[in-house]
């Protein structure tokens, strides 16, 4: 900004103009930077907050405790039926097998027994991995893979994370992925069609026909 003092004395009018010009460029840069940061914050922080509603699971389920107690790993509760369909989230009938009465004083277990098992009501679990209605996903076709390949290490988690629901589509945030820009590091960070196609192309040589995954 400040030119040499000699110049100031010699040509004050020029200096005045120059100073004014430099100042406006500074303002432009300042506004640009403020605007950019503002838009980025809006897009990356505010927009996701507006787009996704946050819901807590009815019961804070501890996978780790159950994993230690069962003999057959994930398939103890998430099993295949005889017709090849996948049971998915367990029903209350499966919980009753062990939890007809509370075994501990854990408030979550007491809630399960008193509010759901006693009344014979299903627990309204919020399913993170639920795909849109037009998607057909066959667990049977993927049963040679490890659960963790797509679901991550959920089996050893001690809490359930907050379920985030897209206010526009009603889908779980796990489908689009946590990163609003769509970047992912792990398989389970995103569950969109492109993610299915990426693996299908790598493993089978083609993305497959539409009806392989649609219904």
């Amino acid at each position: 900004m400040s030119a040499s003092d000699d110049n100031v004395k010699d040509v004050p009018s020029d200096n005045h103009e120059e100073g004014h010009g430099n100042g406006s460029i500074g303002f432009v840069i300042l506004f640009f930077v403020v605007g950019l940061i503002g838009s980025l914050l809006t897009g990356w922080v505010l927009f996701p907050k507006l787009l996704y509603s946050q819901k807590e699971q009815p019961i804070d389920f501890n996978h780790q405790i159950h994993m230690d107690a069962v003999s057959d790993g994930c398939e103890s509760c998430h099993f295949f039926r005889e017709d090849g369909s996948f049971s998915g989230v367990p029903t209350i009938a499966q919980c009753i097998e062990c939890h007809e009465e509370a075994q501990t004083e854990d408030p979550n277990e007491i809630k399960l027994v008193q509010e759901y098992i006693a009344n014979g009501e299903e627990v309204p679990w919020l399913v993170y991995a639920r795909q849109p209605d037009c998607v057909f996903f066959s667990h049977a076709a993927h049963k040679e893979m490890d659960c963790t390949t797509c679901h991550g290490d959920i089996g050893h988690s001690e809490n359930l994370k907050t379920y985030e629901e897209n206010r526009l589509t009603g889908y779980s945030r796990d489908i689009w992925g946590h990163n609003i820009g769509g970047f992912k590091k792990n398989t389970w960070d995103r569950m969109k069609m492109d993610d299915c196609a990426e693996c299908h192309e790598r493993e089978t040589g083609s993305k497959g026909p539409c009806f392989q995954c649609h219904k």
Partner: protein, 278 residues
């Protein structure tokens, strides 16, 4: 893993409909609509609006009494293969909302991908495709009866018969679970096939010589033209190579299956090398 998949034997699922057995009762149409969540309206008399994946046509020989004869012809999607897996509808779709699956031979329709331009409807010579002019409105409580295996459609998209593809998906689930990769003939049958009280519809893999459909029509290796007596396909001449075959002992019915010139012999058209008859 790559080798495994490319060595999978290709199926060619299709149907043989025996028109001599069809009584025109319409059970196939009803079964199809309830199986596939096909929407309907209070007033179904406006046929330009109504959607029938399986449609029943009434044919007559146009002769006066006492020579009048009537034949009913059920028409699902023909699941054309074309020359090399290029059915007319797939070729024109600008959205890739429909494709030909070379593993099963089924022409798909992806409702979430379709944006409703209806080129495919114009391209289909069998009128097998339908446009949803309205959102489906189910009578109160009927949403609970919808099949979870077929996604319902919305206003503005095209739909058509899928050969009950969801039944294939479910049957394959069972096969995978039991460590198989191939289906038994009875494991995958379309809804209309099972509903037909006259047993006029036979469903199976046309590539499999042990399946009934193959034995009934004996499709030729190239182009799939039936070589069995009384067997024909609709509009054979167009080269659409459909996977729905018909049987009829009546010559006038077989002739109605295509646009015959008076001098053309029944069953002689649609060959790759045209034969001189003069």
């Amino acid at each position: 893993m790559k080798e495994n998949h490319s060595n999978d034997k290709a199926n060619k699922f299709g149907m043989v409909i025996d028109l001599d057995k069809c009584t025109g009762c319409g059970a196939c149409m009803v079964a199809c609509m309830s199986e596939n969540n096909v929407p309907f309206k209070k007033d179904e008399s406006k046929k330009l609006d109504s959607i029938t994946w399986m449609h029943l046509y009434r044919l007559t020989n146009k002769k006066p009494f006492p020579d009048t004869e009537v034949c009913y012809l059920p028409r699902p999607c023909m699941h054309c293969e074309g020359a090399h897996g290029h059915p007319p509808c797939v070729s024109v779709c600008p959205a890739t909302a429909t494709d030909y699956d070379k593993k099963t031979g089924i022409v798909s329709q992806i409702y979430t991908r379709c944006f409703g331009c209806r080129y495919c409807m114009g391209a289909c010579p069998y009128h097998a495709r339908y446009f949803n002019w309205w959102d489906p409105v189910w009578p109160e409580g009927m949403e609970n009866y919808l099949s979870p295996n077929v996604s319902p459609r919305m206003r503005g998209v095209v739909e058509k018969c899928s050969l009950c593809f969801h039944r294939y998906q479910l049957a394959m689930d069972k096969a995978y679970h039991e460590g198989r990769k191939e289906l038994e003939e009875h494991e995958y049958q379309s809804s209309c096939t099972q509903a037909c009280p006259a047993g006029a519809i036979t469903f199976g893999d046309l590539n499999n010589p042990h399946h009934q459909v193959h034995k009934m029509v004996k499709p030729s290796k190239h182009g799939g033209k039936p070589t069995a007596t009384n067997a024909f396909r609709l509009l054979e001449r167009l080269g659409t190579n459909p996977k729905i075959y018909y049987l009829s002992s009546k010559e006038w019915v077989r002739r109605l299956g295509d646009n015959y010139l008076p001098e053309e012999k029944t069953g002689e058209i649609g060959n790759h090398q045209p034969k001189g008859h003069h």
